[in-house]
């Protein structure tokens, strides 16, 4: 049976430390950009601060980790790509991005309702010596292409290889975790196969207070959020949580 990998994020547990953002950049060889700002920065995983709109001392905040929501149906970025550089893998449900095919038109960025895609404005470069710390499972990509979260596809390949070496047909649950899930000290991000009724995420997505962003679009995203607070759940109807409604 095909898998349908997904994530459930407990917003009430997230402290906004940013470890997931760092782990994502380390894992996927996303470079530090000296000339970048919040518009041009490349943050496949971005944590935004939201609030209830009240004045101090009634003001309350929460942190929302945002990445590609991995649309399963009518995937907007895949529809608009003239190069077929975006593809939904039927075996995993992961929306993949092939930078070799991308011509940098950025239609997909315009089409993405979650603003989760980033354009590589520069060739990747690291301070002298730091290139030694690059992850050998992920190639650094050139400038002029659009990229996004792919649930650490390099890790999926690694897990597949390990499973094959062990003579197993399939990856065991827990053997494949994206870097952000592994890094979260608060345990706010859970990952697994949504098609597997025994998986933790399968049960978690049915809990009260769990929602998806812009569910009305019918894109069947595979990233779920959870909060017990009503005002936090209102982000389900916003184009993008937080004040950063800007694009790279």
């Amino acid at each position: 049976m095909n898998k349908r990998y997904g994530i459930v994020i407990d917003i009430d547990r997230c402290t906004g430390c940013g470890a997931c953002m760092l782990a994502c950049a380390v894992e996927n060889n996303v470079p530090p950009l000296p000339a970048a700002n919040d518009r041009r920065g490349i943050t496949w995983m971005r944590v935004s601060r939201i609030d209830n709109g009240e004045e101090y001392p009634e003001r309350r905040s929460a942190f929302v980790p945002m990445m590609c929501q991995q649309c399963g149906v009518e995937t907007p970025c895949a529809h608009v790509c003239p190069q077929q550089a975006v593809d939904v893998d039927p075996a995993t449900g992961i929306v993949g991005q092939m930078p070799e095919r991308c011509l940098g038109c950025r239609y997909c960025m315009a089409a993405c309702p979650y603003h989760a895609r980033y354009f590589n404005w520069w060739d990747p470069s690291w301070p002298a010596g730091m290139e030694k710390t690059l992850n050998p499972d992920v190639a650094p990509r050139m400038r002029g292409v659009v990229e996004k979260c792919n649930f650490c596809h390099g890790r999926w390949h690694r897990a597949k290889e390990r499973a094959a070496a062990a003579g197993e047909k399939d990856i065991r649950p827990g053997d494949y975790l994206p870097a952000c899930v592994e890094a979260c000290p608060a345990g706010a991000i859970r990952f697994g196969d949504l098609n597997d009724p025994a998986s933790e995420v399968s049960a978690a997505r049915k809990e009260p207070g769990t929602f998806r962003l812009l569910e009305k679009l019918g894109t069947d995203t595979k990233v779920y959020y959870h909060s017990k607070r009503d005002w936090v759940r209102q982000i389900a109807f916003a184009p993008r949580p937080g004040k950063e409604n800007v694009r790279g």
Binding site: L22, N37, S48, P140, R141, E182
Partner: protein
Amino acid sequence: MTTRRELLQFAGGSAMGLLLTPAPWRLITDTALWSENWPGIPRPARGEIRAKFTHCGLCAAGCAVRARCVGEQPVSLSGVAGGLCPFGVAGHHLPYHPERLKQGNRKEAAEAVARAIAASGPERRVAVLDLQPGRTASWTYRRALAAIPHGVYIAPPEPACSLNFAAARMVLSLGAPLLDGFAQPARVFAARPNFRLIQAEAMESRTASAADEWLPVAPGTEAVLGRAAAGVLPVRQAAEMTGLPEGRIAGMIRALRENGPALIVAPQMTPEVLAWNIALGAWGKTVMPRREAPVPKTWSKAAPAVALETVKDGSIGALLIDESVGDGHLPWESIRPKLATDAVVVAFAWTRSGYARHATHVLPAAVYPEALGDVPPAVDGVNAEFRLTVPLIASPDGTIDPAEFVAALAGLDAKDALRERAAAIHATGRGKLCTYADGKVAAVKDLKPEDFWKALSTGAAWTGDAEESGRTPRIAATFAGPSSEHWPFRVAIETACAPALASPLIGKLTQESHLRLAANRAALHPREGFLDGTRAAIETPYGRRIFEVTVDVAVPPGVVLVAGGPEIADIVGADGCARVVRI
């Protein structure tokens, strides 16, 4: 005869026809593939993938770290029993930081210190400032200073006790960043589902936003609630000072007393905070004596730790500052008056961001994860612990081990100090050893000394046996009045554990998103009258720093929020008083 028109038609037709063949599209693909791999783009190293284990040396929490290495080179770090903080996640980038110090004149510095030792006397002393006391290196400093005439060992106060979050059911945090770098994230978050967290703080910090209840007190009055909980301050007076309703404070105190074991946590676990906990009956339950791993008996002759405040002004002729480790910083303006006018100041540092700015000599030190050392007892370590920061890569030529430098001044050989201490621990036969690679736990008495050391030096951790808490210390809970009104602002530090320099990737949090404040910015409430992007100066009794203003409604009036790090620590005292002026 072929006409020119026919020639042009042929050429045009050929060009159009070429587009219908795969050739141009193949060329585009090949060009894209080439540009992805052209020599300007770095290529990741290839080699055998393996895991190494160590402990994070960036702060006293000392989290267990699993490093994924290609050959000998770490390419990613992750926690062993839970996640790491963002600084720890990218800690393996530090050796390559553009601002890394790599050169220094050891001979010149050693000669200057030797001259200062020769000229020392009761009024002109030789001092070491150890920013992370409790390590084996700290013992080396103390032993060396006991041997050097007029030596004095200066260290910031260590926590007065250890905290047991696993046993707590109610936690009152008085502005401590409990969920954001205060203690080991793995331990705190493992215990988090079992306790109710009340965060008393002027602004809604990361910890406050994830707490069960946030008490928005008036800036600088967090400690008032601790005094009220301990019964040394009437609730009514506490309500007046904090701006909270009396009923809310009374309810909080009732909850602490009835739903225990309770725990009061403050950014600095001073004897006063310990006294509040004792008054709540927390001693032996959630608050324990601070325990250190055993040391060899031959180390008994060691200089005592002295607080900086007790050192006479102008009495230090030579000061050696060990800031090779991540955390801990005393304002330079509190150190400067203690120095003689011609004092020699040697900073052992890996960056110029800290005390190296003020030193007469700067010597490059190894940085995590190059440096071999141990981690001091964690504030949330219930039992004694011995954890090594095992080097994952070699330090560059020219780096100097501060402990060996100081030991050499006293004629001590401290190269094997860690091994000697491990032998002393093994000799007690107590405790157990946890090896992260296989998750096994073995009793020390079942291990040979060589195996014990070998395991420690490959990233294992020793934990002492559980001990009785002993007699409850007698510490009086006191009440101190509010501080001066000349400083209307309170400085809130967003990242209390911020190291001097972090991985360049931290820009993802400060520059490429707005998750954390950048080091050059200060956030103020719009009511303070500052405009976004303008410059302002923060003035304190210790000095002045200029910042770019970020207007943020999440910062309460009367509070100025800054990022953290040595430059701000240089000017902010323990009370956090300040004023903000336009430039």
